[in-house]
Symmetry: C2
Subunit: 768 residues, 2 copies
């Protein structure tokens, strides 16, 4: 027999020893906010369940199933799990949440009120009807975690090259997983002891069949859980034997089909069980993990890390030659442990102690020292059943009821996901626009992968259609030259001017001398001096009544500090509006106002600011769509100029500005005014963006009077600049006015084949 | 009558007083290097003469015509003129040049040996046959400058709004040009005096008709030049009268068609003369400018500035009421001045003095003080006929012959354009790749406009097809996401890896701690530490035999100095090659070698370097495709390590490297090795670029042994990086191997409809 322990010990395997791939499927019943099973359908917003990679239904219509993609690290796994959970939770009706326990809440008395999942595929529905008949509907209402695990390819490769027994890599790999599986089945009682978390059932779960003597460790993992009939037996001696046995069971009618073989560990290869003969085992699926109600996601990182170490140990530790007996013994022990009282010592504590002590030795030998404290913690839990999940749940259920305790936890998780709807758990370090964009993509069932978190780089996929997206709206739909045009103000102006749009007259200069020589041209105009390429308002001087030579020169010097090229331009006065154009349509128009408060005749400026800052849309450092209003030196100076201090009490209705500039980043207000503009202005924005060749652009127009008709008044507008990566989050969650889900429009542009709902519907916008 | 003087004086016109648009058409005979008229056809490389906007033929096949686009400044005008001249000159057969005089060189004795231009359009040929018959072929062989001039639109607008006489802007504009034209025709003798430059004819010019008494000031501008028969008379009193008269002449058979009306000044509006009734005058074309042989381009900036001031003055100065008489008087005076001896005082010196003195007053009044010295210089020339162009040519012709003097000048200009074939006159401040790209576009008849010189931003147009190009290969053909992918090494690697290409194994780190923790993974490998996003070789450490922890940490610190993200990667050893892929094909493969010299057993290292630096392809600061080899501290250190100094004499054939790095910018050699690679490697480069979604990319492969088959040896290559704006000039003008005209390939990608010749033909590469 293969000595995997020796292979794992080999120094050349060290580099890859913790290399693995992970995936999680997590089921959960949808309930209302007082913990009653919902009667609503799976939300339509998720679209077609036939392809949705992340959000599905399991047996019943109320049982949502969240599925992560395969990830290369535990950290990444939990990022995606958190994100998918956030999306699912916030996409449910506002009065629904996800039940945190494996055991369902009280079930309806009548069987017909338990809705089988309304799937599009007729065979899928038929299979569920068969299951309902064969096992009963109630049994199927239990939820859990399916944990997919694959040893790293480099790791298996490096084990493979050190041995000589198997010439074929696939066969070797299958052998490796067979050993892991047999030992896992033999020792899984330990996992049930630690992570079993279904000690008590709720009303109407056991109405149609015998119930265990509650409390236990895990109803779900016991024979009272959802398992095959006892006459279903399969050998794990070899893959050939395993497949033959399953086939036999089906032939004998003990199983309706291969996939009805429910086992705590499944081999995964191709699409069907029988494919394993060809593909070999690619990964294994553990199905014996109950939902951990203390983890928002149903499982936590420590659990996954322990499972990884445990599975590695299953490959490491010796097994018995009599493999079927070995597995059978495991099944017996697991049944016993499952049905033990959750606060009792387990019957097999001594075997557990030996296993964990030996695991610790392995971990040290493989230089995974970081894992030692975890194993020591598990050793302690072996002594302290009250620290196991089942133990804790039982104790908490004693204080109130299990139902009340689970409802409180569910609401806590609900509030957690709903608190800041513009953020996406798992990816909170990314830009808000990207978080919102990721939310929408996951919701719409587009596969997402964050290629580079700090660079806001995403990969999207739907079927064979792959798109790469950076900063949520830099995509393949725009051509390379477009951002280069927009980055260069002179080129942008030349192109817009040639296309007949009004842009400020002016000239570009690269030397102070040239610019000074041009003084007579501008002296008596209203004009502005600005650096050519910076975008943050630095180095800009506006001359509203012309300028004398000295002031002109001072303005030039200021601008030249910011860039080696500067522009001297006609100043077009009026209000600046951001027109957001996507694919030839104006999707949002925004007015930005400087930081301000409105008096109520009672509160001081400081109090008004504090009150305005309570808005959950306000935060710090771009973590929220709006920034907190500050009361620093600049704001106090601004107050002083108006004859006010922070302690002044403005009159009712009096607007007090705290800043001159209207930037959102200094506490400004974002106000959606999309509906206030006539088609003619929108047409100008659309045509100008078209002239620049762009699919996505935020174009800034100065408009003195938005009631004037730009087709009749040539000076009705002036185009200031076009932006190639305009912020979207401020449009989705504006301070005032309607939110515009531009992220959906971008998805629609990228994936027209999905017919994504137009943003106007604004389904999941924050409530104001 | 309109008082234009008053309008010009108005303060609101000041801002635009020097605003104007310019265009030049310059004819010239093609001759061989000893000044004999060529017998070759117009070069095929210019493609179809029916649309070429820049390079055409005039009457005869040997008479090339260079045409600039309309420009907004004199400086810009001369940039394009210089560029077009460079392209035309370098696209001629190597033994041909452009004759610098208006008067042609000696003509063939037989009439039939003067080739009429071989145009595609039958009517064009027919018209030339008619002209040959009507005026004689020889007369048509004269060349000159056509100078197109338009007053700035803002200027005319500001004049227009100050007057009340004309309600219609177009009518006003026509009136303005009519006045300018009448005065110009009256006073043009002054231009003939200054710029007349055809004092002498060469052999066989006057064989078929009477000759003037040479030397004169301008044969071309006299009645001996190319003018209508004396019975052709047209009134300039009004546009209506002017058009009626021309129509009359055609009806009476005095002209074959409208365009046969040859006048020193043409009104331009629509396509045909008759269109002027509708379009009004848009600009005027001066046809009385002889070629200035002292200017490489046939005219210089001072001349154009003087013409601008002169035309402004023609609008300013009063005219006579009897307009036809007024024009007639001008014609008479011009005839006289044309036929004066070039070294004599002109008969009308006094009128000239008054005109120039009054012009000076105008210039001062309009605050164009910069122009005063120019007018004073012209005043001096009035006194000194030997300083006029005709005077100078006559004197030079006296020293040798006019033919020899013109041949010497022609050869000087020829050498000037051929000296550095990788540069383009007029745009030498731009990057070399852009200069070469502009050259090719002009040659192929694609209209070019430099939108931003310092930003390498071009606009190209052929018919309605507009393309914007930055840095010669950043175009609309690549999508926006492509450069963003290539800019991010981690994302590039992930995509290439997923697509099955070999990229170095490794990991990205953003903190020193994480990176240090990963030490055990890399300790015993061959690996490299590098910053994630810099491209200049800074912060890179290679560990060829693994590393101890201290060295590893030092390497990390070095990399973190350059970027906040670093990569630790497997090091793939071998030779690095740049594969240049355009539109799914490898167009060039380049090997870069560190700065080096090869010994000859005689010369010292210093002498060998000096000799190698004589290569015209070497220069400084990226003004040439290769950089000069330095002998600074780094080079001397490198020599020392080899036991050499600058005074050592290397053996014959001994290669002495002066640098470790292979960058071209530090004196390295670029060697084209395109033909040395099998299709399989090219296919890898093409597929990798395709996986990244790019149309244009320079992708760097490390190849240990280029004879190995990459389809059989998985380690035959490794992809290091892909570049989205790869330099092209080093491929077009390599140190060794065949030049690859990649700029043509980019044009071909942008304009497939032009069927531009494939770069392999390499028609105009530098001779080595």
């Amino acid at each position: 027999m293969m000595n995997f322990k020796q292979l794992l010990r080999h120094p050349s395997s060290r580099l890859f020893i913790d290399q693995a791939r992970f995936g999680v499927e997590r089921e959960g019943q949808r309930v209302n906010l007082i913990g009653e099973l919902t009667r609503t359908n799976h939300p339509a917003i998720f679209g077609d369940r036939t392809f949705h990679p992340y959000i599905q239904t399991d047996f019943s219509e109320t049982q949502i199933e969240l599925i992560t993609q395969v990830t290369d690290s535990i950290q990444e796994l939990f990022q995606y799990m958190a994100a998918i959970y956030d999306v699912a939770s916030r996409s449910l009706p506002n009065d629904e949440m996800i039940w945190p326990l494996s055991m369902p809440p009280a079930l309806p008395e009548k069987d017909e009120e338990i809705m089988i999942a309304k799937l599009a595929n007729f065979e899928d529905v038929l299979y569920r009807c068969y299951l309902a008949k064969e096992y009963g509907k109630r049994k199927q209402m239990v939820s859990g975690i399916h944990f997919n695990f694959e040893f790293g390819d480099d790791l298996i490769q490096s084990l493979f090259v050190q041995q000589t027994e198997f010439a074929d890599f696939t066969t070797f790999k299958t052998e490796l997983y067979l050993k892991t599986a047999r030992n896992f089945l033999r020792y899984r009682w330990l996992i049930t002891y630690f992570y079993g978390a279904s000690p008590l059932s709720e009303a109407n779960y056991f109405t149609d069949r015998p119930a265990p003597n509650e409390p236990v460790r895990s109803i779900r993992n016991s024979s009272y859980g959802y398992t095959n009939h006892p006459n279903v037996k399969v050998s794990y001696a070899s893959m050939a034997q395993y497949l033959t046995d399953i086939e036999q069971m089906v032939e004998e009618g003990k199983l309706s089909e291969e996939k009805e073989f429910y086992t705590p560990l499944r081999f995964r290869g191709g699409k069907r069980v029988a494919d394993l003969a060809k593909t070999g085992v690619r990964y294994i699926e553990l199905r014996n993990i109950d939902l951990n109600p203390y983890a928002r996601l149903g499982i936590d990182q420590e659990q996954v890390r322990f499972l990884q170490l445990f599975l590695t140990y299953m490959l490491w530790v010796e097994e018995d030659d009599e493999v079927d007996q070995w597995v059978e013994e495991g099944t017996k022990r697991n049944e016993k442990v499952s049905l033990e009282h959750p606060l009792s010592q387990t019957e097999f504590a001594k075997e557990g102690y030996c296993l964990l002590t030996d695991m610790k030795k392995m971990v040290l030998e493989l230089e995974q020292t970081e894992a030692v404290p975890l194993i020591e913690k598990m050793l302690e839990k072996l002594e302290q059943p009250n620290e196991t999940l089942a133990g804790k749940i039982y104790q908490d259920a004693q204080k109130e009821s299990q139902h009340d305790f689970a409802t409180v936890l569910g609401k806590k998780y609900y509030q957690n996901t709903h608190e800041r709807p513009y953020q996406l758990a798992g990816f909170r370090n990314m830009e808000l626009s990207t978080q919102i964009f990721l939310f929408d993509a996951i919701q719409q069932g587009i596969e997402v992968k964050v290629l580079d978190e700090s660079d806001q780089f995403l990969r999207l996929q739907h079927q064979d259609h792959i798109e790469y997206v950076k900063n949520a709206n830099m995509t393949s739909k725009d051509s390379y030259i477009v951002p280069l045009i927009m980055e260069n103000k002179t080129v942008t102006k030349k192109i817009l001017e040639e296309a007949g749009f009004r842009v400020p007259n002016g000239a570009e200069f690269t030397t102070l001398e040239e610019a000074v020589n041009a003084y007579p041209k501008f002296a008596h105009q209203v004009f502005v001096i600005k650096p050519k390429s910076t975008n943050y308002g630095l180095g800009i001087t506006i001359f509203k009544e012309g300028a004398d030579l000295a002031d002109y020169q001072a303005g030039l010097s200021l601008a030249f500090k910011e860039d080696h090229s500067i522009l001297v331009e006609e100043f077009i006065s009026g209000t600046e509006y951001r027109f957001f154009v996507i694919d030839g349509k104006v999707k949002a128009i925004m007015l930005r106002k400087p930081a301000n408060v409105v008096g109520d005749g009672k509160q001081t400026v400081a109090e008004l600011v504090a009150e305005k800052n309570l808005d959950p849309l306000r935060g710090k450092n771009h973590r929220a769509p709006l920034e907190l209003i500050q009361l620093g030196d600049l704001e106090q100076l601004m107050l002083k100029e108006q004859g006010l201090t922070v302690s002044s009490v403005p009159e009712k209705g009096q607007i007090v500005y705290l800043r001159e500039n209207s930037n959102i980043s200094t506490g400004g207000d974002s106000i959606d005014v999309t509906e206030e503009f006539s088609e003619s202005y929108k047409q100008i924005a659309v045509s100008a963006v078209e002239a620049l060749g762009a699919k996505i652009s935020g174009i800034d127009l100065i408009i003195p009077d938005k009631e004037a008709d730009p087709n009749e008044t040539p000076t009705a507008y002036g185009i200031i600049e076009a932006n190639f990566n305009p912020a979207m989050h401020m449009h989705v969650y504006p301070f005032a006015g309607k939110g515009r889900r531009l992220t959906m429009d971008v998805l629609n542009l990228l994936y027209p084949e999905l017919h994504i709902i137009e943003a106007e519907t604004e389904v999941f916008n924050a409530e104001k």
